[in-house]
Amino acid sequence: MPNYCTVVLPTALKLYPPIVSLDCRCQVFYSLQFPLNLNFRLRRGSRNQKVSQLKAGFWESIRSGILKNNTTQVIEPPTTTEEEEDPLSEEFVLVERTLPDDTVEKIIFSSGGNVDVYDLQALCDKVGWPRRPLTKLAAALRNSYMVATLHSVKKSAGEEGNDQKKLIGMARATSDHAFNATIWDVIVDPSYQGQGLGRALIEKLIRALLQRDIGNISLFADSKVVEFYQNLGFEPDPEGIKGMFWYPKY
């Protein structure tokens, strides 16, 4: 895989229809009702973690990606004002479900950028990306304008305080903070693909960038995922403008 492939997703990615196992009872949560106790080895300095509530508008846009049929419960969110939400640092539960072994799993979205680089490297290994030095990975995350993550938090039935937290997705954007942003390194754990999570990740990232008035959002897509991004609103070669790479290593 070329080392410049920045938005490569493994070929097993399926987006629609999303797969909802008939074995688990799924409940979709809108508001985070308790603070999360998540330990990270690397914190991005200036971001504050703030628990905030989802807005109905955003939820509508990803609901279609996560729900397959009416057997899944959807909880309508309380209305929230625009000002309460800091789009650069949000955290909320995307999905909550009970697994066959009675474990409760929550998929949590966060744009605060708290990523453990060891977890990230393990995730990159899972999808088959070439290894990159950890210090450089950490620096790249620090220098990114926004880092969005998906974590799975599992609680065993009957056990108190025994959470299993796992990084299952990430996307980041670099930007000049004014005009342009470019999305890199979009990644979803293969075991969590096909559920609309990648789509949710990008949609939220885009929304946060647009809210910051950054009008030009771009990315470079491997040929296999061009359609994925088209479905999210990206256009290849708009007006004939082409992405060019300097001496790419094939």
């Binding site: 895989m1 070329p2 080392n3 410049y4 492939c5 920045t6 987006l15 629609y16 846009s61 279609s64 088959g128 070439p130 290894r131 990159r132 030095p133 450089k136 620096a139 790249a140 220098n143 990114s144 980041r172 670099t174 930007s175 000049d176 903070h177 004014a178 005009f179 342009n180 470019t182 885009i206 647009l210 959002i217 771009s218 990315l219 470079f220 897509a221 491997d222 040929s223 061009v226 088209q230 479905n231 999210l232 609103g233 990206f234 256009e235 290849p236 070669d237 708009p238 007006e239 004939g240 403008i241 082409k242 992405g243 060019m244 790479f245 300097w246 001496y247 790419p248 290593k249 094939y250």
Partner: protein, 196 residues
């Protein structure tokens, strides 16, 4: 100047067989742009710093003394939209590398280019402009060569840009390749969002 091939590149597991490539020969630079080895470094700029200086041009590598209104004027002259200078300042403050050329006689900016990125893996080059009255004499190339060298010196090996169709011939001889391996540049468009 650092040699490009001395900059350590992260270890990669080659997933594709590595093809052998011929040695770089400056005479067939345009053809070589299609090959995979980058050129030798900066001591071989097409126009040297001294030549630029002797022709009355000064190179700058920081925002200091850059008149943003003059910059905006050049943007408009080449067909970019006029932009809020406050926003331009913010953009330049969050830029990894920039280069501009000043014409001594008028004390005005005549060429400019900048690059944003994460500072370690990727850099994207934006806003490459040359005042129309000064085009065709090598200033754009001079700015690009130095910008690329500055990025390589930081260890950034993935250097990309978005090129309008009519200037692809400007970037190609410098070593830029469009859609390598089928990778497409994509831009978010609010107008045509599809929902599935």
């Amino acid at each position: 100047m650092l040699l490009h091939n001395q900059i350590s590149i992260a270890l990669r597991t080659p997933l594709v067989p590595i093809k052998s490539t011929p040695k770089y020969n400056p005479k067939n630079a345009a053809v070589f742009a299609q090959q995979r080895n980058p050129p030798p470094p900066a001591t071989n700029f097409s126009i040297s710093d001294e030549t630029l200086s002797s022709r009355g041009f000064t190179l700058h590598r920081t925002m200091d003394n850059l008149d943003l209104d003059h910059l905006n004027t050049v943007f408009v002259a080449v067909g970019f939209p006029r932009r809020d200078t406050g926003k331009i300042r913010v953009a330049l403050e969050h830029t990894d590398a920039l280069l501009w050329v000043e014409y001594e006689k008028t004390k005005r900016i005549v060429a400019f280019a900048r690059a944003t990125g994460d500072g370690v893996f990727n850099a994207i080059i934006w806003d490459v402009i040359v005042d129309p009255s000064f085009q065709g004499i090598g200033l754009g190339k001079a700015v690009m060569e130095r910008l690329i060298t500055a990025l390589l010196e930081k260890g950034i090996t993935n250097i990309v840009l978005y090129s309008e169709p009519r200037v692809m011939g400007f970037y190609r001889p410098m070593g830029f390749v469009a859609d390598p391996d089928g990778i497409r540049g994509m831009v978010y468009s609010r107008k045509q969002k599809k929902k599935k």
